[in-house]
């Protein structure tokens, strides 16, 4: 293998600044939306006292899950010693860092009292899964920062395997924590399952790699650097495995629920009668986010088309957002069964499916988080050497067939 040279992108073209400006515009809109929500209260959102986590959480949790998944490429290089992934590793770590930052920004700005961030950082209830996550997030930032340092600083290279291993283990724990935010909720029928933690890990593999591939292709195409088919073929095949595994976990999760009589009502809601949630599940999560990309990624002829590869990744991202919408909002829309065997009615909407429609500020805040992540990557690759000069086939794998 030829020696790989990492170099900053020039980032001086009008196109680069236009891209950065475009991303910054969305970040600014997101921050403006957060200010608007903070000023007026959540009354200006679609959220209410039945559905307290809405669109911002869909984006935030997606970004957080994708963040840990994006680090996988680096882990495969450092932990599993796959040489081909080595040149891809720094960008993977940067993307992981940026996605987590974007997700956490959304989560934080959606708080009822975002001004009390310092309270969240100084008061800990150690039994709370949320509190564990605060520790896991800050730990992830630190470990990934050190990991990037060991990869980019020649003198530190010998430690990169150890740092990569620490990051890999930490990301598994982090996504276990994210899944457990829901899995440890006994109150709601759609949750209270240990399966949610490993399921979130598998989902993170798929979402993170899809986002990584999109960023990789965009960065190399727009900066005019060569990106060979060998890398894309390898990553595309890996993505197919992840998407298939994600579908398997979703299948087992619903199969378990379908076997338990007490879970039949919530399963019927999600799979059959839930309106938008049913549509998003079958069409968004399963068809667009799973089956169609799988067909593209498993078929060598289709996979060879970069356009279709981009489409498959975009579909996986869309499917991921649909999955989060169903998992987070759909689960709340289904009413709590406080009196099993009784029909319930009250002024507080007991016993009825709860209504939610996303509002513009929520969507803007969510997109703002995506923009913050993308801005960090776009700027990061300009100021530091995250990207190899070339990922042409001959550079990454001399034995690859042209």
């Amino acid at each position: 293998m030829a020696s790989i040279t990492f170099r900053e992108i020039e980032g001086s073209s009008p196109r680069y600044w236009f891209l950065l400006g475009f991303i910054a515009l969305f970040a600014a809109l997101g921050l403006g939306a957060a200010y608007y929500m903070e000023h007026h209260g959540h009354i200006v959102t679609g959220m209410n006292n039945s559905i307290v986590w809405g669109t911002p959480h869909v984006f935030a949790v997606f970004l957080i899950v994708a963040a840990s998944g994006a680090l996988n490429v680096a882990s495969i290089a450092s932990v599993f010693g796959k040489v081909m992934y080595k040149p891809l590793a720094p960008l993977s770590a940067l993307l992981a860092f940026a996605l987590l930052m974007g997700g956490l920004t959304v989560l934080m700005l959606d708080l009822g009292r975002a001004d009390r961030l310092i309270v969240a950082m100084t008061y800990y209830n150690l039994k709370s899964v949320f509190a564990w996550n605060v520790v896991l997030y800050t730990g992830f930032f630190s470990i990934v920062a050190v990991y990037i340092w060991t990869m980019m600083e020649k003198k530190m290279n010998t430690y990169s395997k150890a740092a990569g291993m620490a990051a890999f283990i930490w990301r598994l724990i982090l996504t276990t924590g994210t899944g457990s935010i829901f899995g440890f909720l006994v109150a709601r029928d759609a949750y209270s399952s240990a399966l949610l933690a490993p399921m979130f890990i598998i989902l993170s593999f798929a979402y993170g790699l899809a986002v990584y591939l999109l960023v990789l292709m965009a960065a190399y195409t727009w900066s005019g650097r060569p990106l060979g088919d060998a890398v894309l073929k390898r990553l595309g095949k890996l993505l197919a495995v992840f998407v298939a595994a994600a579908l398997y976990f979703v299948f087992v999760y619903h199969l378990t629920n379908l076997y338990f009589t007490k879970q039949h009502a919530v399963e019927h809601f999600i799979l059959v009668s839930g309106g938008i949630y049913t549509t998003l599940f079958w069409v968004g999560q399963i068809l667009i986010g799973g089956i169609v990309p799988l067909i593209i990624l498993l078929n060598p002829a289709l996979r060879a088309s970069r356009g279709l590869l981009v489409a498959a990744c975009l579909m996986i991202v869309f499917g991921g957002l649909a999955q989060m919408y169903v998992t987070i909002i759909g689960a709340q829309a289904f009413p709590l069964d406080i009196f099993p065997g009784w029909e319930e009615k009250s002024a507080f909407f007991d016993g009825v499916v709860h209504h939610y429609a996303p509002s513009l500020p929520e969507v803007l805040l969510g997109l703002g988080g995506v923009a913050i992540a993308l801005a960090m990557v776009t700027f990061g690759i300009k100021i530091l050497r995250f990207m190899p000069d070339s990922l042409a086939d001959a550079e990454v794998d001399p034995h690859a067939k042209a």
């Binding site: 903070e38 007026h40 209260g41 959540h42 009354i43 959220m47 209410n48 006292n49 039945s50 559905i51 307290v52 986590w53 708080l111 009822g112 009292r113 975002a114 009390r116 961030l117 309270v119 969240a120 008061y123 800990y124 209830n125 039994k127 709370s128 899964v129 949320f130 509190a131 605060v134 935010i181 440890f184 909720l185 006994v186 109150a187 709601r188 709340q332 709590l336 406080i338 009196f339 065997g341 009784w342 029909e343 319930e344 009615k345 009250s346 002024a347 507080f348 909407f349 007991d350 709860h354 209504h355």
Partner: protein, 253 residues
């Protein structure tokens, strides 16, 4: 007037004096004892200087057989006491609501109030990242408004839909019950009244309406009305399968 008449007259005069004396003494005694009774009440109320103790476990018992369908006096009293403005919007806060139930098999209907169940092992307390959601030693579950960050994880965790998030700026608050936009809140069992030795507003209102469907008291005190009712009658806990040991019990459900 003969002697006997004179003697009778003097006897009745003496009786009258005696009666007046006894009456005045009783009144005086009453006046003397009254502050003592108040002090006794306050002593039971817990002086501010003393910490809350776990010797007491405050609880509520709702007798569903006495709760009248359509009556919302407990809800109104709660709103008045805690200065809660609520309406028909899904964003409006509800600390207590009347739930109308219909048995899916028999069609039998029932009506009862549902509020924070003040669980011993409260899921809202478990999940709160900052510890803002907490349980007092005497079993009352509260939110510390100073460290609630408004994450709503407790709302997600509560199996009783007992918590509300405040979606907009509040006005006309009761100084005893501080609340605020961006925080989560729920029934406090009228802790400000309980600490003064009074009953929660819903309990008082139900009793005033003549239903006496909600009783309040110390579940740990075997002599209390509530403890005896719970010990002597079949009562149930909402979502007993979750084993949260709520401080609110239901009879006749």
């Amino acid at each position: 007037m003969n002697d006997s008449q004179a003697s009778h007259h003097s006897t009745s005069e003496v009786d009258e004096h005696r009666r007046n004396f006894i009456g005045a003494s009783a009144a005086l005694a009453g006046l003397t004892v009254a502050p003592g009774v108040v002090v006794y009440g306050l002593a039971h109320a817990k002086p501010d200087s003393e910490p809350v103790t776990n010797k007491v476990r405050w609880g509520l018992l709702v007798d569903a057989t006495k709760c009248a369908e359509g009556c919302t006096d407990c809800v109104t009293a709660c709103h008045t006491e805690n200065a809660i403005q609520t309406g028909a919007l899904e964003t409006d806060p509800h600390w207590i609501r009347k739930v109308e139930l219909k048995d899916m098999r028999t069609g039998r209907s029932q009506s009862l109030p549902v509020m924070c169940q003040h669980c011993e092992d409260a899921p809202c307390v478990d999940v709160c990242p900052t510890g803002a959601s907490f349980k007092r030693a005497d079993g009352i579950v509260l939110v510390d408004r100073h460290i609630c960050i408004g994450c709503r994880y407790c709302v997600m965790a509560c199996p009783y839909k007992a918590r509300s998030f405040i979606h907009e700026t509040l006005t006309d608050q009761n100084p005893d019950v501080p609340r605020g936009k961006g925080c989560v809140e729920s029934c406090t069992m009228c802790v400000h009244r309980v600490d003064r030795g009074q009953q929660p507003a819903c309990v008082e209102a139900c009793s005033k309406a003549g239903h006496n469907a909600i009783i309040f008291g110390d579940l740990n005190d075997p002599n209390s009305d509530i403890a005896q009712r719970v010990a002597g009658h079949p009562t149930s806990q909402l979502r007993a399968d979750l084993a949260l040991n709520p401080g609110v019990r239901y009879e006749g459900l």
